[in-house]
Structures are given as structure tokens and as C-alpha cells.
Symmetry: C2
């Protein structure tokens, strides 16, 4: 199951890269069905808030709390404070993270608030980020507020 949804998140990251954007993707999954697919749109839309996870949540649309509370959020990279905050706001109980070697977000906060956090350490996710961070360090720093 993980493989299928993480692959969908990676496909989003690659779409973002092909658009000239930051290669981070995410999908929101409810009972085995993808409700929203997203990727970082800082470059494409000049957005300060559309990280991959935020874009997946936005594209899933307005949902009742009961849906979020049975959902899993897949993301290719460890979620930053903003995206972790959105996960906390909606009470999404389970996050599957492609990798956290390039960047480690607020996993400890999610865990401390009772969330289940799984890190896959997927080589494809790592390669996408490593290459991007080398090629565009300024853009990457902007995306994480540095």
C-alpha cells in the first residue's frame, strides 16, 4: 500500500520539477483512495504557502473532520512547521514521509501530539531533493524560510 501512494507523491514531485518548481509532492489518502494530490507551487504560482502537503490538502477540498481523522498524508519530504501545523489542525493521525535526510521538519511535534510518523528513507525522494538543493540552494532556502 505504502508503495503505491508514495509513488503517487513522487509523481507529483516530478511534475513540479518538470514545471521548473521545487520537487516535493504529497497525496492525502482516505481508506485506500487518494482524495488530493499536490506539489510545491512556490515557483509556478509565486506562492508562499503552497508546499506539497498544503497543495494536496487544498486540492482535496473542504472535508469533514471525520475524513481527515481516518486519513494518511504521504509526502516525499519531512513536513515543515507550516505543513505539520496543518496536519495538527485537521488531526490527520498518520504521516508517511519519503525521506528526512535532506530536511527534517516537525516530526517530533507530530509525534508528541499523538501522531504516527513513518519515514521510508526512499532513495528516489533523496535523489530528487539532493540534486535540487545543489542546483538551487537559494530557492530551497527561500522555501524553508532561511
Amino acid at each position: 500500500m505504502h508503495d503505491e501512494f508514495l509513488r503517487a507523491a513522487i509523481a507529483e514531485a516530478e511534475s513540479g520539477l518538470a514545471e521548473g518548481g521545487i520537487p516535493i509532492g504529497s497525496v492525502l489518502v482516505h481508506r485506500g483512495r487518494i482524495l488530493g494530490r499536490g506539489h510545491n507551487r512556490r515557483v509556478q504560482q509565486g506562492s508562499a504557502i503552497l508546499h506539497g502537503e498544503m497543495d494536496a490538502l487544498e486540492r482535496a477540498g473542504r472535508l469533514p473532520a471525520s475524513i481527515y481523522r481516518e486519513s494518511v498524508l504521504y509526502t516525499t519530504l519531512s513536513p515543515c512547521a507550516m505543513c505539520s501545523g496543518a496536519i495538527l489542525l485537521y488531526g490527520i493521525p498518520h504521516v508517511v514521509i519519503g525521506e528526512n535526510l535532506s530536511f527534517k521538519g516537525e516530526e517530533e511535534l507530530l509525534h508528541a501530539r499523538g501522531g504516527r510518523v513513518e519515514v521510508v528513507q526512499d532513495p528516489h525522494c533523496q535523489m530528487l531533493m539532493r540534486r535540487f538543493m545543489e542546483e538551487q540552494p537559494g530557492l530551497w532556502n527561500e522555501d524553508i524560510g532561511i
Copy 2:
């Protein structure tokens, strides 16, 4: 100073209310100049992520970290986990909150991470939220993931 910018955030909240939306507004201020004005757009745009603060950040556009770090975010209501996470992501050091009696967000987290958090307890902000929560409790609960 506070008065002027909090009034701008309240004007945003009232614009949202007039559009049939949730009456929460925010402005991002850098050295005495408003860079972005926003209000909650859950109803207007079917958005799961455009809380007032997020909308203000989005409308301010892509900014270097150095600007955020000298900015103040004004919001009519205590910021939820998502909006507080965005404040942490960008290192916005100072948040002025219209009121936190209707809802108390992640003020303690912001404070623990070194942020300055001021709560004005403005009667106008309180009145806007109290009325809205009484009239549309379901919509309000949706907005905070309940």
C-alpha cells in the same frame, strides 16, 4: 501603531463576513507598511488552507527570509496550528492577536519557540467571532478541524 494595523485586519474580517465567509482577517506588516492583507476564504474559494493569516501571507507573495524576520503579523483571532506553523516556518517574530477568548490556538508553541505574542482582547474582534460561532457552529467547527 497597533490600532491602525489591527483595524486593517478587522476590515479584512468584515470583508470576509460580507462575502458570506468566516470573519477572520490578518495583515502582514513590515516596518510600518502592510505587505499583505488577507481573510479566511473557506466558503468563498472552497479552501481548506486559506485561513486569514495564510491568505495574508499568500497575498504578500514570495519574500526573502530577512523581510519575514522583521515583520509583525496581525490577526483578529488567535492563530490555529496551521497558521502558527506558517509563522514558525518564516520566523515571523511578533504576532498581535485581536482576541483569544473565542478560540485559543498555538500561542504557547509560538512563545516557546521565542516568538512575541500580544493579545489585545479587542471587543470588536470578539463580537465578530461570537456572533459567527452562534450563527454557524458547523462551519466554524469545520474550519478548526472539529
